[in-house]
């Protein structure tokens, strides 16, 4: 083997690369954004094209309260990550729990809305185009909230077991990026479903 040994520089050259966790999460967010874009395009394309009722304006009511819940959870997770960076695991745990509670409240809101639509208004995913696009778009977002909550819950368990320390702040930041994305997507879904589509 005539291997050539490449010279070893003991870190003489500056080498500051972006954190791979952040880059990876931004990659995932880009992919998810593309998936949501297709669902949003389908929703907008089919607005008003249902051949039978019920129509959006008859059955949809704007979920202001639960939207505020979800959006404020972005604030609590941001503050949680910040307190972890500052070294306060206790306030991190409290704010993290608040984030989970707000996310769960949002899911509860979706559940009650779907229950009302299905059992009182008779709108299911196979009723008409509105039902198909509505349940898939809101459901796709709800699925992402569920995935986020599972991840948040796991961090919560680790916190209770005393395994989360300030040096994990970077990883928590990566997870909170995902949560911010889920919240941001809701703004788009909200606008499309409850403002433009109604």
């Amino acid at each position: 083997m005539n291997a050539i040994s490449v010279p070893v520089a003991e870190q003489t050259l500056e080498c500051d690369r972006p954190a791979r966790g952040q880059v990876g999460m931004f990659g995932l967010i880009a992919a998810e954004a593309a998936i949501f874009t297709i669902f949003v395009v389908a929703y907008l394309f089919y607005v008003g094209k249902s051949l039978t009722g019920p129509m959006p304006k008859d059955v949809l009511s704007v979920p202001f309260f639960f939207t505020i819940c979800l959006l404020s959870s972005s604030l609590t997770i941001h503050l949680a990550a910040k307190s972890l960076r500052r070294g306060s695991v206790r306030s991190f745990g409290i704010l993290w729990l608040a984030t989970i509670a707000l996310g769960a409240a949002f899911l509860y809101g979706t559940a009650t809305e779907w229950h009302r639509l299905i059992y009182r208004e008779g709108l299911t995913i196979s009723t008409n185009l509105f039902g198909t696009t509505y349940y898939s778009l809101v459901g796709l977002h709800g699925f992402h909230v569920v995935v986020g909550l599972v991840a948040l819950f796991m961090v919560m368990v680790f916190t209770f077991l005393g395994n989360v320390r300030p040096e994990h702040a970077e990883r928590v930041d990566v997870l909170s990026l995902y949560w911010h994305f889920v919240d941001a997507v809701w703004i788009v879904v909200f606008t499309v479903v409850y403002v433009i589509g109604r």
Binding site: A3, V6, R17, G24, A31, A34, A42, Y46, L140
Partner: protein
């Protein structure tokens, strides 16, 4: 010999029981092993899809042939297309990217090794799922086994009404599952290239291979995700009674076309950018010159990435769009010929005045250049909407895109196989068999795909299982089918060469080509940790600097 210092003794590895070694391969998170798994997996599916293509061509060898039934013919072209795109070309290109990117940028592994393994197994199970349809898809209705809706599966053919049984479900799930794998790999490639480069390797000093795969990964993220979304919609339609593509309930069949081709056209560039990457590494080494116009090559690549996102509806001229849409997609499609043309001139300028060595990898790359040019020219012809109305869905289109996929991508890919074989396995391939493969495949390719344009021009539509005699198509179809046997012989020589060289080839040494990128600085095959010490680079050709300390590249870059 610093790289040898902590390598495990070969004898110790070889005496381990078969099961233990197999277990290591199945549970591996090493980018090199996963790369080889991708490549072997793709070669198996290449054989399967190649047999399907051969049967298709035997059926079309003469008019009124009844070698296979119309139903089987539909399944054959669907499976051939789906397999070739998703389970041959994408995995094999991911395999090379996986194997080579960390080595080229001086890293010890990909950014996320476990995500890497996850992605491979998702892709692998996607392929198994597609072929499991042969056993499982009979389902309740006893109708159809393999998917038969064409590789772009237009609605409403995929609705429950027209596609009973489960064959279409297997098709959808296979693409959905392998799509998750592709997205995972793309994220991994981006994170690796951006975050794992060795000291001194700025973006402007990266090998073009890494640059092109970075853009490819970006395109995968933006292109495969819409396909994933469309497959979810199709599943909602088929399983939950949704109406996305149900024209009876106000849904649109055309929107499936848009969603599919928003994926489908960037996908072409997902496949061809790695081929460019191979050519951009091989041509300079065998021309004994640095690549001509590095920064322009990078710029052209990024431009192709952007433009490729806005050309999809040129697949839909015959559907009937507004004249504004037609005009837009004609112009955007023609625009993409500009950066690709720049690339061709850069490769030619790299060869110009060089001391060209006509080794097998270089032969394949030279053929790649000419065939890529020809494929691009028929592409520009087809981008003209009126011409496209005449020839859309004819054998001219089939010839055009096979010229791109086989003539450009596969030729560059074979070049890559021969070029990096010594690195991956530590053995030299047989140059005689390599040249035999090249000439057989070249002759077969031109017999098949040059002459396939003509029945297309004479009006032969694609996807017909047979045709009437006396339309002037007979002789051309005969020649096209004869070419297939040359190609098949070439592939067999290729596989034979790989196997023979693996067992009998002579040791290759770490740098058989006197090349310049970092992968040639470590052993062949590289140890699990790639580099004993993380290298430091000062120019785009770190090994040139090392071999010519009196006249290093970094003085001029």
């Amino acid at each position: 010999m610093s790289t040898d210092a902590i390598a495990l003794p070969e004898a110790e590895l070889a005496t381990r029981p078969m099961v233990a070694r197999l277990h290591e391969w199945v549970t591996t998170v090493d980018h090199k092993r996963l790369g080889i798994l991708y490549i072997i997996y793709a070669l198996v599916f290449l054989l399967i899809a190649g047999i399907e293509a051969t049967v298709i061509r035997i059926q079309l060898i003469r008019p009124h042939n009844d070698f296979v039934s119309p139903q089987v013919f539909n399944r054959l072209f669907t499976m051939h297309g789906t397999t070739m795109i998703f389970f041959v070309t994408m995995p094999v290109l991911f395999g090379f990217a996986n194997y080579l990117i960390p080595l080229m940028i001086g890293a010890r592994d990909m950014a996320f090794p476990r995500l890497n393994a996850f992605s491979f197994w998702m892709t692998a199970f996607g392929g198994f799922l597609l072929y499991f349809s042969l056993l499982g898809a009979n389902g309740l209705y006893g109708a159809g086994n393999a998917p038969d809706v064409g590789w772009f599966a237009y609605a409403p053919l995929t609705s429950r009404t027209f596609s009973v049984g489960h064959s279409t479900d297997f098709w959808t799930l296979a693409l959905l599952v392998s799509g998750f794998g592709s997205i995972g790999t793309a994220i991994n490639i981006i994170a690796t290239v951006l975050c794992m480069r060795c000291p001194g390797m700025t973006l402007a000093k990266m090998p073009l291979f890494a640059w092109l795969n970075l853009v490819m990964a970006g395109l995968v993220i933006l292109a495969v995700s819409p396909l994933t979304a469309a497959q979810i919609m199709l599943l909602v339609d088929r399983y939950l009674g949704g109406h996305f593509f149900d024209t009876q309930a106000g849904g649109s069949a055309v929107i499936w076309m848009h969603f599919f081709w928003v994926f489908g056209h960037p996908e072409v560039y997902v496949l061809v950018l790695p081929a460019f990457a191979f050519a951009s590494e091989i041509i300079p080494v065998f021309s004994r010159k640095p690549i001509f116009g590095y920064s322009v090559m990078v710029g052209a690549t990024v431009a192709i990435g952007f433009i490729s996102m806005s050309v999809w509806a040129h697949h839909m001229f015959t559907v009937g769009m507004s004249s504004a849409a037609n005009t837009f997609f004609v112009i955007s499609t023609m625009t993409i010929a500009v950066p690709t043309g720049i690339k061709i001139f850069n490769w030619l300028a790299t060869m110009w005045g060089g001391k060209i060595e006509f080794k097998t990898p270089m032969l394949f790359c030279i053929a790649f250049l000419f065939q890529f040019l020809a494929a691009g020219l028929t592409g520009v012809m087809l981008s003209v909407a009126p011409f496209n109305w005449h020839l859309g869905n004819s054998y001219f289109v089939v010839a055009h895109f096979h010229y791109m996929l086989a003539g450009a991508i596969f030729f560059a890919l074979f070049g890559a196989f021969y070029y990096w074989f010594p690195k991956m396995l530590g053995k030299m391939y047989s140059e005689t068999l390599g040249k035999l493969h090249f000439w057989l495949f070249l002759i077969g390719f031109h017999l098949t795909f040059d002459f396939m344009h003509i029945p297309g021009l004479l009006g032969m539509p694609r996807r017909i299982y047979t045709y009437e005699p006396g339309r002037g198509w007979d002789t051309w179809n005969l020649i096209v089918t004869i070419g297939v046997f040359f190609q098949a012989a070439g592939i067999l020589v290729f596989l034979g060469n790989l196997l023979w060289s693996y067992f009998r080839g002579k040791a290759a040494g770490s740098d058989p080509w006197d090349a310049w990128t970092l992968e040639w600085s470590t052993n062949s095959p590289p140890p699990a940790y790639n580099f004993y010490t993380i290298p430091t680079v000062q120019s785009r050709r770190p090994l040139w600097d090392l071999k010519h300390a009196d006249d290093p590249d970094w003085k001029y870059e």
